[in-house]
Symmetry: C2
Subunit: 350 residues, 2 copies
């Protein structure tokens, strides 16, 4: 039976799923971070929203836990208990946060989860070190996952290391794009893939592998995770221009302010026509844009069709994800949850 | 028979050893870096001195390869062939270069191996990404070391991750020290240990473990590596003030320019007496120092006994290293080489 989301989205049920993921991995996350030296633990705890900047306990938003959710659900999708993949889920969430810490430095993003980003609160060196610490910790958690056979452990470590190379490549291209005027829509989609999709694919892969899935099911869930990731990034790009700052925790028009060549912008630049030409004139000139000009740029991206294109492409990616999810023949207990999650991830902009 | 260096230093022989280490690991280093995405490979190759800034082949100094030398020699010390530890040696050298790339960003050191550091040539984002890439690559090389049993692989990965935590802690303290006026000599020695010694200890440990050494021999070689590392850092601190720029590849008085609380400075500040008080007045004031004042600071550190103290402490660390080397009862073929190496490392300032 093909998996479909049309009338089946149950956000309340997904809230329950995220609460369960939180309960499953939070103690392991805390225990892992406890192993870090005191000199960096406070910075990492601040990043996760566990402490405020003076080290007092806080209850900040620690992010959606989408990646560990995928890991646990994919273990269940191949018929295993979520327990089998808790270590992998923690490792994936640590890798994700490593990349957030370093990316915020590189992109100059001063706000993360409605609070000052680590680099703007503690300085660039602290943010670099905190990221390094989380990367090492992720590998350590993976290498020590209890109950996992050593060959599976080394396999998982290799998988994560290969994914890190893809993430680094994606970030390199993203930075290079900001200085280029000739980025194609294809390059942009590949980049959107390269920055986000590898980790979502990896989250699904590790869950399926640790759950003991067959190679065919692992492969199908990897493809599911990949397309979900590309869809996720496209929606992120939409939110980076038109997202409500109260929900995104970032300033309005953030990506345009940073001069990003995100998917809607590149599609609009490639579209041709008057709006596209005006956009190129304004956005590609070397001087920084004032607030009025940023609003004009956003309107031109929309008029040239960049917003609609990104929205439609996100839908196509969601559909591809669902097709591969069907192929994986997920266990009935999580089939609808994974489909609902796909809908949620690719429609966060509504 | 206790290991001793007194009349036995044969620099020519050590040159042969370093050439052999270079030949043993260079192809594996190149092959590992080849796996990186093209977007970051050039930056990494520049850092290693393989390419110039335009990507043309170059023959820059790639560093002394001290850490992989220790790994290979410690495998031989426990009676194995160096082959058994080549993967570990490559991983250690990659971890070392990861930390150089990130430390240069954090410390604002613009020169590395007589050339502009990566961050000053390609920008901070490229240096962060290149460091991240080498860290992931190190773990990958370790996880895939051919001919190693999976449990040994996961053990090595855990060892390296634990060492990374120590390095991060050392760097955190180093940065914090620059803003503090009350660093004790003990804290400073612990920091000198924390920044450098863990990786040298780890280099020895992985060599001994991959060579199949007994736990007692592994433990003795770890202690050897630790004291060698503390001695190394003390000499580095001496070179950071009095080193010849033509040899160190760094500007004269580099550590004083950066306001570092390195071991000779802290010892001089703690010594009491007139020179110590003058030093505190000059070095601990908030304003930056001019060239004449930097020269005065160096003279005051020397007059207050900081230089002699660091020199004597480096000798004590070398002696402790040799004692543990004796305990390890190294294979005769490398016994003298390891002792000579100890002498070389702790007397680079002469």
């Amino acid at each position: 039976m093909p998996v479909s989301t049309d009338q089946s989205v149950r956000p309340a049920e997904l809230d329950t799923v995220f609460a369960w993921v939180q309960d499953s991995i939070a103690p392991r996350m805390r225990a892992a971070v406890e192993r870090l030296p005191a000199s960096i633990r406070g910075v990492v705890g601040y990043h996760f929203g566990w402490f405020d900047e003076s080290g007092r306990p806080a209850n900040g938003a620690a992010g959606k836990l989408l990646r560990p959710a995928l890991t646990l659900l994919c273990a269940q999708a191949v018929g295993a208990g979520a327990d089998s993949a808790v270590g992998a889920a923690v490792a994936i969430e640590l890798v994700h946060n490593f990349s957030l810490l370093h990316d915020d430095v590189m992109d100059g993003d001063a706000t993360r989860r409605h609070r000052p980003a680590v680099w703007s609160m503690y300085g660039v060196p602290a943010a670099i070190l905190a990221g390094d610490a989380l990367l090492a910790l992720a590998v350590e958690v993976l290498a020590e996952a209890p109950g996992t056979a050593p060959p599976a452990v080394t396999g998982s470590v290799s998988t994560v290391c290969a994914v890190l190379r893809e993430l680094i490549d994606g970030q390199c291209r993203d930075i290079a794009f900001e200085g280029r005027d000739d980025v194609t829509v294809e390059e942009c989609l590949a980049m959107a893939g390269g920055k986000t999709a590898p980790l979502l694919r990896c989250a699904c892969e590790l869950g399926a592998v640790h759950g003991g899935g067959t190679p065919a099911r692992v492969a199908a869930l990897k493809r599911f995770g990949w397309h979900l990731g590309v869809g996720f990034q496209l929606v992120d790009d939409l939110l980076g221009i038109w997202g409500d700052p109260r929900l995104t925790g970032k300033p309005a028009l953030a990506d345009l302010r940073a001069g990003k060549k995100s998917a809607p912008v590149v599609a609009a630049l490639a579209a041709g026509g008057q709006a596209s030409r005006y956009l190129a004139e304004l956005y590609l000139r070397p001087d920084p844009l004032d607030e009025d000009e940023l609003v004009t740029v956003a309107r031109l991206v929309e008029q040239a069709g960049g917003r609609d294109w990104a929205r439609a492409e996100a839908d196509r990616q969601a559909q591809a994800a669902l097709t591969h999810l069907s192929t994986a023949d997920p266990h009935p207990s999580v089939r609808h949850t994974l489909a609902d999650l796909t809908y949620l991830v690719t429609h966060r902009d509504h």
